[in-house]
Subunit: 432 residues, 2 copies
C-alpha cells in the first residue's frame, strides 16, 4: 500500500496580490514530512466562489487527502464553507458544536457574539468539527468521493496547532505501516550544481533510481538531498551515501541535522573546540567577513577584532603594511595581502586570520588585474598561505563569494586539508 | 476590453517539501500589479513530468498568460522545457541562441561548457528566447492555444531582472490602452506599517478610494505605494501625494525611481556631495555597517576604514578607549560609545563616524541592560550625539536594525534634522 496523495488548496486575495508571502504551506509540508507524507500539488486562488468550487471538485477526484487553508473568517470574502457545501452537494446549516465554541470564545473575551461571528458556525451539513484552540474559527472535515477534506484557518499559529494536535494524529491512524521516508541533506561548498551533476554522472553512473537526488543552490552553499521512499532504497542508501561522500571529498561541509549552519558557524565551532581566536583584514569585502562571524551567537569567544582597511593609507595606519609595497606591487597583490594578514595577527593577538584584497568593481579594473581579481592570505603568523582568484560576479555577489571562500579556506587550513579547490577560476600568475 | 487572465505555474521539489518558502510569486504579483494585472490562480507542483504536462495543458486552455517559474536548471530534475514540448506537441532541439548564451556565459567565467549545462540549450522547437542577464538559464516563450507562455528561472534575482526588463515590457505592449496604471513608490524609515496607517487615518481621514495605498515592509525600509487605475485618481494624485509627504515628514527617505537605493547608498550620496569621509566603530554589529557602506560601488571615495572592536581589550588597543570606562560604566554605555566614536575619528582622519555598542543576545543581558540594549554615538569630532535604544528583536534582525538606525542617524545629522524618531523603544535612562 502506497502513501496517500496529498494536495493543498490555499485561498485568500492577499496571497494573490503579493502582499503576503505564503509560509503556511512550507510549515504544513514540514509537519506532514514527519509522518512520511509529501505534498504533490498545491493550488492557490483568490476568494472566488466558482473557482473554489471547481478546484475542490477536481482535487477531491484526484487525491486521497485535501487540506484547504484559509477562508474561514467572519467577512464576506471568506467562502470556504460555502464552496465546500456546493462542491459536495450539501446544504449549509448552523452547526451546534461550532456555535458552542463561538459562544464560549466570545464569553471568555467579554465580547458579544455578532452577525459576522455567527457566520463562522454556518457549515456544510454533517461535517465534523476540528477544534481550534487558538482562534474563533473552527476547522471542519468531510469525506467526499474517497477524499478526506480538512478545512483549516489561515492564521499561521491557529493552523499549526490544529494541524499538529488534531489533524496529524487523525491522518496517522489511517497510514499504511510500511510507509518509509528517509531524507539526508548534505552541505557542499566550492562546487556548482552542474559540475556536481557531471561528477556524479561520470563517477557514479549507476546511481539507483530508488534514491532520489536533489540539489538546492543556497547562497553560497549548495545543498544535496538524498530521499528514499522505499524499503529497497533504504537498504542501499548508506552504501550510496558513502560513495557520494567520496565524490564530494573535501567539498563536503557537513550533513545537515536540523537547521543548516553557515560557513561561519562551522568554522567558529572548529575554532571553539581548539580554543583559537580569529581576526580579519578586509579590503574589498569591507567588513562582510567579520559580520558573518559576529552574526553567530557566542562568536565573541573566538573573535575579538576585525580590520576594515579600504584605502592604502589605512592599510598602513592600521596594519603596518609598508607603503613601498603599494608602489611596487599595487594594493591587490600577494605582498600586500600577506602584510595585511600579518598586521592583523600582530595587532589583534589572534591565532588565525583571513585577509582579502581585490577589485570588486564595477570600476578599478586593469588589464593585468581585471574586475573580479582577488588575493587571499590566511593562516597563522608562521604559516601564511595565499591564493589569487578571478571571481566573475558583480559587486554584491562578488563580495558574498569572496567572504565565503575566505571562510572556507580557513576551514580547510584548520582541518589540514592541503588541496585548494578550483572555486571559480584560479589565476595562475603570481606577482612576485 | 478587459485585462488578460494571468496564471502562475511554479515547479520545484523544494517548493513542495517546505525547504524553501516561495517568495517569487509575491514578487511577480507586485511587479505585474504595476501594469494593472492581477494573478487569479497559482499552481505549485513537484518536478514531475506527467503532472507538469497536465497543468500546462489545462492552464493554457483557461488563461491568456501563463508564467512558468523554475525547472530551467542543468540537472535531471529540471523538466520545464521537456514538459512544455510535450504539452504543445513540439520536439525538443538545441536552440542556437540559447547555445550562444551558454557558450558566452561559460567563456566569461573561464569554465567549460559541460553536458549538464548543454541541457539548458535543449528547448521546444520554434520557441523564442528570453534573455537572462544574471544566469546561465535562458527563459523562453511560446504562444499556444491563445495563451502566452513564459518560462522563467527559479533563482529570484534572475527572475526579477528577466521579468522587469524583458517580460513586463512585452506584456505591456499588448495591454488595452484604457488600462491606466500610475504608481509612485516612497521609501520610509523609522515608522512601522501600523503606526503609519494610524497616522494616515488620523491626519488624512478623507484619503480618496481612487488612490490605492499599499505598504511593503522591506528589511529595514518601508515602501509606501500609491496606485491609481482611473483618470479621476490620476487627477487628484499629486495633491494627495503632497499631503502624504507632509505626514511622513523626515521619515521620508526618497521617492523611488527605478531600483530602490539602500540607506547606505543615500547616505554616501550625501557625503559625496560634501566631500566628507565616514568611518565606523562597531561592537555589536561586528562589521555590518562597514559592509553595508562598502556594498555600494564608489564607496572608497568616502570610506577608508572601519573598526570592528568586539572585545574590550581591542576597543582600547584599536580606538584608545580608556580601560577605566569599562569598569565604571560597562562596555554598553554612553561613555564607551563616545570614546569609540572619538577614537575612530582620530585614527582614521574621517569627518564623520557611527559607533555602536550593544547586547545582541541571546546571552549577555542583565536586568539593567537587557538583551536588545544598544548605545549609538555619531557625528563629527566636535559634535558627537548619543542615543540609547532597546531593540526587541532576535540577534540577526537586531544587528540589521542597529546598522540601519546607525546609518539613518547619520543621514539626519547630515541633513541638520534635529529630531530623533522613536525608532523602536527609546530608553530614557542615561548612565551618567
Amino acid at each position: 500500500m502506497s502513501a496517500p496523495k496529498v494536495q493543498l488548496l490555499l485561498t485568500g486575495n492577499e496571497l494573490m496580490t503579493g502582499d503576503i508571502v505564503d509560509s503556511n504551506s512550507a510549515m504544513m509540508a514540514q509537519v506532514l514530512k514527519d509522518i512520511g507524507l509529501g505534498i504533490y500539488r498545491k493550488v492557490t486562488v483568490a476568494d472566488d466562489l466558482a473557482l473554489l468550487v471547481s478546484e475542490i471538485t477536481y482535487i477531491a477526484s484526484t487525491s486521497d487527502i485535501l487540506i484547504i487553508n484559509g477562508g474561514l473568517g467572519p467577512t464576506v470574502d471568506d467562502l470556504t464553507a460555502q464552496a465546500l457545501a456546493v462542491a459536495i452537494g450539501k446544504d449549509l446549516s448552523q452547526h451546534p458544536q461550532a456555535l458552542a465554541h463561538l459562544t464560549n470564545w466570545c464569553q471568555q473575551r467579554g465580547t458579544e457574539l455578532n452577525g459576522p461571528n455567527l457566520k463562522q458556525a454556518i457549515l456544510p451539513k454533517d461535517c465534523q468539527i476540528i477544534a481550534n484552540k487558538k482562534g474563533s474559527a473552527v476547522g471542519f472535515f468531510v469525506r467526499y468521493n474517497h477524499c478526506d477534506i480538512y478545512c483549516t484557518p489561515g492564521v499561521p499559529h491557529e493552523l499549526e496547532t490544529m494541524l499538529i494536535e488534531q489533524i496529524v494524529p487523525t491522518i496517522s491512524e489511517d497510514l499504511p505501516r510500511d510507509l518509509i521516508t528517509d531524507v539526508t541533506r548534505l552541505q557542499v561548498f566550492g562546487l556548482g550544481e552542474s559540475s556536481l551533476q557531471k561528477m556524479i554522472n561520470e563517477q557514479l553512473p549507476e546511481w539507483p533510481a530508488a534514491i532520489e537526488l536533489g540539489f538546492r543552490a543556497g547562497m553560497p552553499l549548495l545543498e544535496v538531498k538524498l530521499t528514499t521512499n522505499t524499503q529497497k532504497g533504504l537498504s542501499m542508501k548508506s552504501a550510496w551515501q558513502k560513495r557520494l561522500t567520496k565524490v564530494l571529498g573535501d567539498h563536503l561541509i557537513a550533513e545537515i541535522k536540523g537547521k543548516p549552519k553557515s560557513l561561519a558557524e562551522h568554522l567558529l565551532n572548529q575554532l571553539h573546540q581548539h580554543n583559537l581566536k580569529i581576526t580579519t583584514a578586509e579590503s574589498c569585502t569591507g567588513g562582510l567577513i567579520a559580520s558573518k562571524l559576529t552574526e553567530i551567537s557566542g562568536s565573541s569567544m573566538n573573535f575579538e577584532a576585525g580590520f576594515v582597511t579600504y584605502s592604502n593609507e589605512m592599510k598602513t595606519a592600521m596594519l603596518d603594511v609598508p607603503t613601498n609595497l603599494f608602489e611596487q606591487y599595487g594594493a591587490v597583490s600577494e605582498k600586500v595581502v600577506i602584510a595585511m594578514a600579518k598586521g592583523s595577527l600582530v595587532k589583534s593577538n589572534a591565532d588565525l586570520t583571513i585577509a582579502v584584497s581585490g577589485v570588486a568593481g564595477p570600476n578599478g579594473g586593469t588589464e593585468e588585474k581585471p574586475v573580479g581579481t582577488v588575493w587571499f592570505a590566511w593562516g597563522s603568523i608562521d604559516n601564511i598561505k595565499t591564493q589569487c582568484l578571478l571571481i566573475p560576479y558583480k559587486r554584491y555577489k562578488f563580495q558574498q563569494f569572496v567572504a565565503a571562500i575566505g571562510l572556507d579556506l580557513l576551514r580547510r587550513y584548520q582541518q589540514n586539508i592541503t588541496t585548494i579547490p578550483n572555486y571559480i577560476i584560479e589565476r595562475s600568475f603570481t606577482d612576485q
